[in-house]
Amino acid sequence: MRILQTHKSRIPDAPATGSSINQVDWDLLWERFGTAVVTITIWLIAGLSTPRFANVDNFVSVLRQSAFVGVSAVGMTFAIIAGTFDLSVGSTQALCAWGAVSVAKVAGVFPAFVTAVALGGVIGLCNGSLVALVRIPAFIATLGTMFLVNGLTYILTNGQTARFSGKPFVWWGNAQVMSLPVPFVVFLGCALLGAAILHRTSFGRFIYAIGCSREAANVAGVPVAKTTILVFIVVGLFTGLGAALLGARLYSAGPGLEPGFELNVIATVVLGGTRLAGGRGSMLGTVAAAILFATLANVLNLSHVDAFVQRVVVGFVLLLALSVEGVRQRLAEYWSKRAARIPQSSQPL
C-alpha cells in the first residue's frame, strides 16, 4: 500500500496533495533539457567511436546542415505550441528559395532575402486565414496550400532550376564568421528571437494559452483568431528565410527542392520536446533536435551506412523519443487505476 502511494504522488496533474509542490519537476526538466542532454551524449559517443567525427571541419558541416531545417523549425515551434501545424512549409521553401535565387541574380542580396521572407509571409497569411477565419482544420488547409504552392512553383519555373553563384549571395550559405557557419549563426539568431517572443511578449503567452486550451483562452479574452493567423505568418517568415539560406548554399533552387521537408521540420520540433497537442514546448529543444538530426545523418554517413537504412534509423529515433513520454503516461495511469481499485477489493462482498 505504501509503495502504491508513493507512485501515486508522482503522477503529474494528480489532485494536489501538497507534497508535489516541493518535488523537483522531472517532467519539466526533461522537457526543457532532455534533447540537449541526448544530443551532447551522442556527440561524446560519436567523437570517441568515429575518429573522423571529432574535427573542426566536420563540426562546422554538422552545424551548417542543422540550420536549413532548423530555421523553419523555429517557426514551426510556434505553430505546434499553439496546437496547430503547417504541412505547406516544404512547398513554401521551394518557392521562396527559387524566388531568392532569381531575384539575387537581377537585384542583389538584400532584395533576394526580402522576396523569400515576404513570399513565406503571404503564404502564412493564407494558411492562417483559412484556419482561423474560414475554419478549415489546419491539416486540410495546409495540405491544400501545399499542393497549390507546389503546382504554382512548377508553373512559374517551368520546371527549371534557377542558378546564381554571385559571391555576396552564396556567402550567406557557405561562409563562416568566427569559425561558425553563417546559416547556423542565422539559425541561432532566429531561435533567440523566437524564444524572446515566446517568453517575453503577450503574443507568446497567447500562443501557449491557446495551445493549452482554446476555450479557456477565448474566455480569458485572448484574441484567438488574430493570434492563430499571426502564428502561421511567423511560420511562413522563418521558412522563407531558411529557404533563402538554402538557395545560397546550393547556388540554385527549383521545384522539388527537398522532398519531405515539412515532415523533417515537424519531426524536429516534436523531437525537441514540444507537445504535438500544444501548450508545451521550448526553442532550446528545437535547436537541440535540429543539431541532433544533423549529427545523426553525419555519423551515419561517416560510417558508410546506406541512405535507405539512414531513414529507418531516423524513424526509429523519432519513435523511441516519443514513446518515452507515452510509456511514462501509461505507467502513471496504470498506477493510479491500481490505487483507485484498492478500497473496492478490500470491501466485503
Binding site: 497567447f206 501557449y208 480569458a220
Partner: protein, 515 residues
C-alpha cells in the same frame, strides 16, 4: 397496485462513495420493485449523479453493494451494467447523430446475415419497438434530423431492444418542451405497466408526483426518506430536499451605491433567455437561480460576450454598451469566474503567474520595448497571493499542482486584475471543499464592501442565501420571480424554480412578479 406480490428487482445496500474531499454517497439503502416507477429527487450535490454512475458502472462504490434480483452484483464497467439489464439514459444523449435511428438502436448488436448487417431485419425490429412506444419515426432517418424529444424516444427504444429490465432516466424532461414531456410521461407509465422498472431522477416535483409510485429523497449524500406517493406530501418532499444545516456565517448588511448595470428586456441568443430586466448597484450581490436549463448560465455568458445579446438594452454606468466578446467585456470592466473550471478557465500546463495575468497582459507591458515586465508580474502575483490568501510556493509553479480552491482563487484574481466594476461569478465554489468555500465567501464579502457589483449564479441554495442581497429565479429561460433579503429561503426559491409557487406559503407581497 398490489405491492405485496412485487419483489425488489434492484436494491442498494449501505452504499457509500468517497471522492477526494467529499463523501458523495453516505450509507444509502433503498430498493426498486419490478414494474415500479421510482422517483429519486434531491438538490444538486445530493448524490443522485453518483448513484446513477454506480448503477451505470462508471463509478465503483467505496463501500456497500448493489443487489440485482437479491444477489450481489458488481459493475466494474458500463458494459457489465448493460449486460445485467440496466440502461441509463443520461442528460446528454449518447446517440450518434450521423447514423440512422435503426443503427443507433442496434449499435454494436446489429442483426447479421453472414458477415453483413441484416438491414431489413434491423429496420423491421426497430419499427416494431417504436410502434410499442406509439411513435411514428422512419428507422432510416438520421438521428441528427430528429427533435430532441424524438431522440430521447430513440434512447428508450435502444434500451428496450437490449431487453432492459431497469431504465434509469436522469432529468429526462430537462431538454423537452411541454408536449414532448407529457408524451414521455405517458411512455414511462406504459413501460412500467409492461413490467420494466424505471428509476426516474428529476428536480421537477410536479412530474414526480404525477408518475412515481414511490419517491426517494437524497440530501448531502444521505438517504432521507422513501415513501409511497400517496403517503407523502409535496411540502414534505421539498423540506426533505432542502432541510440541511445552513452555512454558519451570515450575510453582512450592505449599503448599495450608484447603479452599475441596467438591463431592459434583454434576450440572449435569439430566445434562450428572454425578457430580462434588472438593475444592479455598487456593493450589491444579485443572485440568479434556477434549475438546469433555466437560462441562468446562458444569461451570464451573454453578459460576458460569450453569447450574443440579440435584443434589449444593456447599460453600464448609464452608458449603453455592446459586449461582443470576452475581450470587450474585460475592457468594459466586466470580469467572469466561469462555471466550468476545467474547461473554461484553468490552463493546467501554465504557471500560476501566467494563469493569473493572461486576461490583462497589456498591464504588464513595459513602456518601451514592448516586452513583458516579468519582475512586475511576479510581484503582482505575490500581491494577490497575500490579498486572497492563495496557497502556492512559487509564481512559476504549474497551476495544476494547486487544490481546486486555490485554483479558483487564482481565477478570481485574474478577473480582479482587470479592475472590474462588475464581477460575474458562476458556481464560484463548485467542487471546492468546505474550508475554502468559507474563505471564498469572506473574499466576496470584502470585494462587495469595496464597491464591486456582483452577479452570482449558483445551484447551491445555501450559497445563494449566504451571499445574495436579491435573487431572480428563472424558469425555462424567463424570470419567474424576484426575492429580496430575508425572503430568499430555500423553500421560496425551490418553489418558484420547480413551479410549485401557488402551493407555498410565502407572503404574496414578497413575490414580485417581474412581468
Amino acid at each position: 397496485m398490489d405491492e405485496i406480490q412485487r419483489v425488489p428487482i434492484l436494491a442498494v445496500q449501505n452504499l457509500s462513495r468517497r471522492f477526494p474531499g467529499v463523501l458523495a454517497l453516505d450509507n444509502v439503502s433503498f430498493d426498486i420493485l419490478a414494474g415500479e416507477v421510482h422517483a429519486l429527487v434531491g438538490e444538486n450535490g445530493a448524490g443522485k449523479s453518483t448513484l446513477i454512475g454506480i448503477l451505470a458502472g462508471v463509478y465503483q462504490p467505496s463501500a456497500g453493494q448493489v443487489l440485482l434480483d437479491q444477489k450481489p452484483a458488481l459493475f466494474p464497467d458500463p458494459l457489465s451494467s448493460q449486460r445485467a439489464g440496466i440502461s441509463v439514459i443520461f442528460q446528454e444523449f449518447s446517440l450518434l447523430p450521423h447514423l440512422s435511428v435503426a443503427e443507433n438502436v442496434f449499435i454494436s448488436r446489429e442483426p447479421r446475415r453472414g458477415l453483413t448487417v441484416d438491414w431489413a431485419t434491423m429496420n423491421r425490429q426497430t419499427q416494431e419497438i417504436l410502434r410499442t412506444l406509439n411513435v411514428e419515426i422512419d428507422p432510416a432517418t438520421l438521428v441528427s434530423e430528429l427533435a430532441v424529444g424524438q431522440q430521447q424516444l430513440v434512447e428508450i427504444a435502444r434500451a428496450l431492444s437490449a431487453k432492459t429490465r431497469i431504465i434509469v432516466m436522469d432529468e429526462p424532461t430537462a431538454a423537452l418542451n411541454e408536449r414532448e414531456a407529457v408524451r414521455l410521461l405517458e411512455i414511462v407509465r406504459s413501460l412500467a405497466a409492461g413490467g420494466v422498472s424505471v428509476l426516474y431522477v428529476s428536480h421537477r416535483l410536479e412530474e414526480v408526483f404525477s408518475i412515481a409510485d414511490r419517491i426517494t429523497v437524497l440530501r448531502d449524500g444521505r438517504h432521507i426518506v422513501t415513501e409511497g406517493r400517496s403517503a407523502i406530501t409535496e411540502q414534505r418532499v421539498v423540506s426533505a430536499m432542502v432541510g440541511r444545516e445552513l452555512v454558519h456565517s451570515t450575510r453582512p448588511s450592505r449599503t448599495a451605491g450608484a447603479i452599475v448595470l441596467e438591463t431592459k428586456d434583454v434576450t440572449v441568443d435569439g430566445g434562450l433567455v428572454r425578457n430580462v430586466s434588472f438593475s444592479l448597484r455598487r456593493g450589491e450581490v444579485l443572485g440568479l437561480a434556477g434549475l438546469m436549463g433555466s437560462g441562468c448560465s446562458e444569461l451570464m455568458e451573454g453578459l460576458y460576450g460569450l453569447r450574443e445579446i440579440t435584443a434589449g438594452s444593456f447599460l453600464i454606468e448609464d452608458r449603453p454598451v455592446r459586449i461582443a466578446n470576452p475581450r470587450s467585456a474585460i475592457l468594459t470592466g466586466v470580469g467572469l469566474v466561469p462555471e466550468d473550471r476545467k474547461r473554461q478557465s484553468v490552463f493546467p500546463d501554465l504557471s500560476v503567474a501566467h494563469n493569473l495575468t493572461i486576461g490583462n497582459l497589456p498591464r504588464w507591458f513595459r513602456a518601451f520595448p514592448g516586452l513583458l515586465d516579468l519582475a512586475g508580474e511576479r510581484r503582482k502575483t505575490l500581491d494577490y497571493k497575500r490579498q486572497l490568501n492563495i496557497r502556492f510556493t512559487r509564481p512559476e509553479q504549474r497551476i495544476s499542482g494547486l487544490s481546486g480552491g486555490n485554483q479558483q482563487k487564482v481565477i478570481l484574481a485574474r478577473a480582479l486584475a482587470g479592475n472590474c466594476r462588475l464581477l460575474l461569478l458562476a458556481e464560484p465554489t463548485r467542487g471546492i471543499d468546505v474550508g475554502a468555500k468559507a474563505e471564498i465567501y469572506a473574499l466576496i464579502d470584502r470585494l462587495v464592501q469595496k464597491g464591486i457589483a456582483v452577479i452570482l449564479q449558483t445551484s447551491e441554495l445555501p450559497e445563494l442565501i449566504r451571499l445574495a442581497d436579491r435573487c431572480i429565479v428563472f424558469v425555462a429561460g424567463e424570470p419567474r420571480g424576484e426575492l429580496c433579503g430575508a425572503e430568499i429561503t430555500q423553500e421560496a426559491v425551490m418553489s418558484l424554480a420547480t413551479g410549485l409557487s401557488h402551493r407555498v406559503t410565502v407572503d404574496s407581497a414578497s413575490l414580485r412578479s417581474i412581468q
